[in-house]
């Protein structure tokens, strides 16, 4: 009798946790899902009731020159930041996971700092530095700032990837006659590729969506988030912003979902096939 009672309790608790989890997901996604919803709405007011279905905002988005320019800039900056951050992050991750060094914890902590300081402070500090150094504000300054944010993320992704795989694989390759470069090429790189692709996608997304640092470090060329910000004070433009937002969200969602899947699938595979 008591066994049945426990079972029912457990079932009850299982349900309540699951209910909570679903509700939480709804809370997490719902506000954001209104953006795509109203982007197809035939009205410049973002309010119920829905008026009608239209693509006009998407058409406006595609033909807006300022938007296209900002989009191009964001893609350019994002691509460069992704490649460079992944490179720096991978080197750092390799150093941290493969070598014994005194002060390693402190060094890692130092590299992680951009993740925990308020972005506004980082932004103004860089602005001040640029000003003092006579450096003009361009896409390069934005890119540099983004790298500071993306390198720690890339390092984190690569650390979790490298830690999951066997140090002795690289030693075995060295032992069998390959020098450091060939060992990297024949063993480390093939096994790390899922992590590298994930890092590229994630850092690209971060840079692409990043607003605060870009706000302080932009010159005449703007990125897409800055473009969105500039449009927010004009109500008639809002639906176009929604269309843009919806597009960005959908693409980001798939990019990131794919990256996360890659990253975690690889690590799990290693763990199960290990001795």
């Amino acid at each position: 009798m008591s066994a049945a009672k426990t079972d029912r309790n457990r079932l009850g608790r299982l349900d309540s946790f699951a209910v909570y989890a679903v509700a939480y997901l709804v809370f997490l996604y719902l506000p954001v899902l209104f953006l795509p919803l109203f982007s197809f709405n035939e009205s410049i007011y973002i309010a119920f009731p829905l008026k009608g279905f239209t693509f006009e905002w998407y058409e406006a988005m595609v033909s807006n020159a300022g938007l296209i320019a900002a989009l191009t800039n964001s893609v350019k900056v994002g691509a460069v930041v992704a490649v460079l951050s992944t490179l720096f992050g991978t080197l750092a991750a390799k150093a941290v996971t493969r070598y014994r060094m005194p002060g390693r914890g402190l060094t890692v902590g130092f590299i992680m700092i951009p993740l925990v300081i308020p972005e506004i402070i980082l932004g103004i500090a860089l602005l001040v530095l640029a000003n003092m150094g006579g450096i003009p504000l361009t896409l390069f300054t934005i890119g540099f700032a983004h790298m500071l944010l993306c390198v720690p993320f890339s390092m984190l992704v690569m650390i979790s990837r490298l830690e999951g795989f066997d140090k002795s694989l690289e030693e075995a390759a060295l032992d069998l006659g390959e020098n450091a470069w060939w060992t990297f090429w024949r063993v480390t790189f093939p096994l790390a590729i899922p992590g590298i692709v994930a890092s590229l996608l994630l850092t690209f997304t971060i840079s692409f969506d990043e607003f605060i640092l870009a706000f302080f470090l932009a010159g005449t060329d703007t990125t897409l988030p800055l473009f969105i910000w500039s449009q927010l004070r004009f109500p008639p433009r809002l639906p176009m912003v929604l269309a843009l937002g919806a597009t960005i969200l959908i693409i980001s969602f798939f990019l990131v979902a794919f990256a996360e899947w890659l990253r975690r699938r690889g690590v799990q595979a290693e763990k199960t096939s290990g001795v």
């Binding site: 002795s168 694989l169 030693e171 032992d175 069998l176 020098n179 096994l191 290990g274 001795v275």
Partner: protein, 366 residues
Amino acid sequence: MSDTTFISIRGVTKDFGVVRAVDDVSLDVQRGEFFALLGPSGCGKTTLLRMLAGFEAPTKGEIFIDGQPMSAMPPHQRPVNMVFQNYAIFPHLDVRGNIAFGMRKSGLSKTELNAKVEETLEMIKLPGYAKRGANELSGGQRQRVALARALIKRPKVLLLDEPLGALDKKLREEMQLELRALQKSVGITFVFVTHDQEEALTMSDRIAVMSKGEVLQVEAPMRLYERPSSPFVADFIGTMNFFDGSVRALADGCATVDTGPLGEVRAQAEGEAPGVGERVVVAIRPEKMKLNFKAQGESVNSVQGRMGPAAYLGERSHFYVHLDGHDRPVAVAMQNMERPDVWAGQSDQPVWLSWSQDAVVLLRPE
């Protein structure tokens, strides 16, 4: 250094920060030898092996292989190959890819290489496995592929890090004999690390017993077992009975030792004999103790005790005899076929132990 010395380790010390893992070790390994580094975990044997491979650099001292100093040589240039403890099979390559991995610079054509791989597969008794994926292999198969991968390069020295640790008992015993046969047929110097003394005794030509970073004794298995040089080694290899005592007299290479509970013991005193009055440890192997239910009428190398617990192990049995004044029971091992009568004895029954003079090993106390 003799002509047959192949590996020479001279005064090698390795520190990891404040921890001294290897302490001033000097060793010689002969060409074609199957050499074991034996010791409990943390004794420095794996560190020493890794220094031979080049993955750690000695803090002090020098290593020579075939006369060449190794200090400036990184692992990929050394004429040494290693079989790792967890085998380190490349998961993204198949068996052929793994075995042929180190042959990229060998200059062989694709067909030649494939033939060589197949030949090596035959040698490790896995013919036709070339296309198998790495994660389709069992533990024992991985171990053999790791072995093949190293051997195909015909290194001057093969290093093995606890190669049989992950295998189950039966497989391990099989592999011990196979490895030994393999080594003899290929003629390569093997250096292997283990914490299993039975394994070391079975496979090696010589064993170096290590503890806390130091090498305590280097000896062939039989002599190591019969004539250990210290209580640690004596206890680590097989089981041993220990008794404290002091030397009463010394004459004609024979020492008379007073041991309290064990009575008067006469033993061979060879080499650096202890002096009169010195404290010694008397060590006697359990199988060298003779057990009788009647007094033997001897005053030396004999003592009376009481029968204690017994353990039956199939081919042999272990009996434990209590001695007055000795806190631990004396272990006595006997083949059941030879002495079926002992099991008829009763607990606490008086028994007499005796042993021969050359069964006694005299050791310096630690």
